[in-house]
């Protein structure tokens, strides 16, 4: 395993994203717009739950950050299919780079950008909406890192099982809306229908938002996010296992939409 080759591939993929930055800008701007809509609603909901001294950003900011993190799964997926469409996948495979180096190189920029998106949305939440973290920042950062890692692993699993770009885009877009909604990005899980409350734990968003609420609103620390982190690690392990079992470097994937 050569870290140098992985970094060469990562640098190229970062460059590909950089030459067309508008999708990335959209993923940063849209959650901020939606936060502005949701903040007053969430303020009322939190007041109804007995929270005092809150402004709604404690729920609106993590909710939108989690939802839009899901959309990066689509970018992670399309990055692989694009190589097939551009005819570069076989060139990569015929190069000295090992399969693991190619995987790491392609995932690394997405991982960094997902973390950067979280950081920027958190900072913007603090500056624009008065978000204040009552609990441990270390616990929150750890939770975010594990959540992002789990989403990336699940994205790789999707790439492994999808044969066409269309399949991947439909799965990631629908998955982003359904799973983030189920996890409480739009409305607190407690207000969802009974069937949705029962299904909520199958979504990584549920565990990410449960952990963020424990830290941001309830002033919790590492102990309060231990369970969400453990479950998110299990999601990540599932994604890695599916990828290891199903990813075929020699498979011809269809990149045409």
């Amino acid at each position: 395993m050569s870290l140098r080759r992985s970094l060469v591939i990562a640098r190229l993929n970062a460059l590909i994203i950089a030459v067309d930055p508008w999708p990335m800008v959209t993923l940063l701007a849209m959650p901020l717009v939606l936060m502005a809509f949701l903040e007053p609603v969430d303020r009322s909901l939190l007041a109804g739950q007995g929270y005092v001294g809150v402004n709604g950003s404690e729920v609106a900011v993590p909710g939108m950050a989690v939802m839009f993190a899901f959309f990066w799964m689509m970018f992670a997926g399309t990055g692989f299919f694009r190589e097939h469409g551009w005819g570069t996948w076989d060139r990569l495979r015929a190069s000295p780079a090992r399969p693991a180096e190619i995987m790491v190189g392609k995932c690394l920029p997405i991982l960094v950008l997902m973390l950067a998106q979280m950081a920027v949305l958190g900072a913007a939440g603090a500056l624009l909406f008065g978000l204040r973290v009552r609990g441990s920042m270390t616990a929150l950062v750890l939770l975010v890192v594990v959540f992002v890692g789990a989403l990336l692993a699940l994205a790789m699993a999707l790439v492994s099982v999808c044969h066409t770009l269309n399949q991947t885009m439909v799965a990631t877009n629908l998955g982003a809306i359904v799973l983030s909604g189920l996890g409480g990005s739009f409305a607190p899980v407690a207000l969802l229908p009974a069937w949705a409350r029962a299904a909520a734990p199958v979504s990584p968003a549920y565990w990410a938002l449960r952990g963020s609420k424990a830290v941001i609103l309830d002033g919790g620390g590492l102990a309060q996010v231990a369970l969400p982190i453990a479950v998110l690690c299990a999601f990540a392990a599932f994604g890695v296992a599916v990828t290891a079992a199903r990813f075929r470097f020699g498979e011809v994937k269809i990149a045409d939409t």
């Binding site: 060469v8 460059l15 590909i16 067309d20 551009w86 076989d90 060139r91 015929a94 000295p96 020699g250």
Partner: protein, 311 residues
């Protein structure tokens, strides 16, 4: 440099290669010919580690390439049949990426980029986006990416498809230079005049089998008798002893003029649709015709489809 023995591969029960043997020494060029679906691309894919054979052996520079594909890859250059580069990036970025991936140092990358871009007339295109290049420029960029690591064994799979005359000449000159420098080249093509221009050896595949192999002159001497070729407006008539291929009707003949005259008298009304008569002298094309019953592609504007390489 390359030794292939008994290579066998089937896709969903359909044989693509049936016990193919091939050898290419340092400084040698072997043109791999054959009709679509003959197995050329499959052979290249296996030799470069992109596919696994069902049986057979591949040695590159004395190393078992199937068991140690990672060890042989730094020695290889591959320009696949399908264009492969990053269209949203500049030519410069494409070259830098593949050079770095091959492990070139900063100085070596600069030197190799200069050599390769000069050889393939890309110097003035360095700041252009690859997706904005013309067809011939894209083909030259595609080929150049296979040369950055100074390969000792180079696979070029239909390297001039879609290239204009200038691009074609650049690529052929580059191949000659590489061979002169000791590089072993496996050159898959349908353009037979290119093979004659390059010289070297020829291996002809058909239906996954090697049907002829040897020096270019030897192949022509052994199989390249004279012949006649008619071109019709529409389907050619069915004449005994003649081969039909698209709008063409052809046969080998010791006395082409007499054979042509006799055939015309037997055509009946089909003769009204006769557009051209070619007397074929002994060339690689006549040898190819005699061996495969098919026409090679002799002109730059005649393109063949892709070789079959099912997933």
């Amino acid at each position: 440099m390359l030794r292939i023995a008994g290579l066998t591969k089937a896709y969903a029960g359909r044989a693509a290669l049936r016990g193919v043997d091939l050898e290419i020494g340092p400084g040698q060029i072997v043109a791999l010919l054959g009709p679509n679906g003959a197995g050329k691309t499959t052979l290249v894919s296996i030799a470069t580690g992109l596919r696994r054979p069902d049986a057979g052996q591949v040695w590159i520079d004395g190393i078992d390439a199937l068991a140690h594909s990672q060890r042989v890859r730094p020695r290889l250059g591959l320009a696949p049949q399908e264009l492969g580069f990053y269209p949203t990036l500049r030519v410069r970025d494409n070259l830098a990426f593949f050079g770095r991936l091959a492990g070139l140092s900063r100085a070596a990358l600069r030197e190799r980029t200069l050599i390769v871009t000069e050889a393939l007339d890309l110097t003035d295109l360095m700041d252009r986006y690859a997706g904005d290049l013309s067809g011939g420029e894209k083909r030259r960029l595609h080929t150049s990416l296979a040369l950055l690591n100074r390969p000792r064994l180079l696979f070029l799979d239909e390297p001039t498809t879609g290239a204009d005359v200038a691009s074609r000449n650049s690529i052929l000159a580059m191949v000659r230079g590489l061979v002169a420098d000791g590089c072993a080249v496996c050159y898959c093509t349908h353009y037979l005049p290119e093979v004659e221009a390059l010289g070297g050896s020829v291996t002809i595949l058909e239906a996954g089998r090697v049907i002829a192999s040897g020096g270019l002159e030897d192949i022509i001497a052994a199989h390249g008798g004279a012949g006649v070729r008619f071109r019709f407006d529409g389907a050619p008539p069915d004449l005994a002893g003649w081969t039909r291929d698209g709008a063409y009707l052809m046969t080998s003949a010791a006395d082409p003029a007499v054979t042509a005259a006799r055939a015309i008298t037997c055509m009946g009304t089909a003769g009204d649709r006769l557009l051209a008569i070619d007397i074929l002298h002994p060339t690689l094309e006549t040898a190819y015709l005699a061996l495969t019953g098919r026409r090679g592609t002799g002109h730059a504007d005649e393109e063949e489809g892709e070789d079959v390489a099912a997933a």
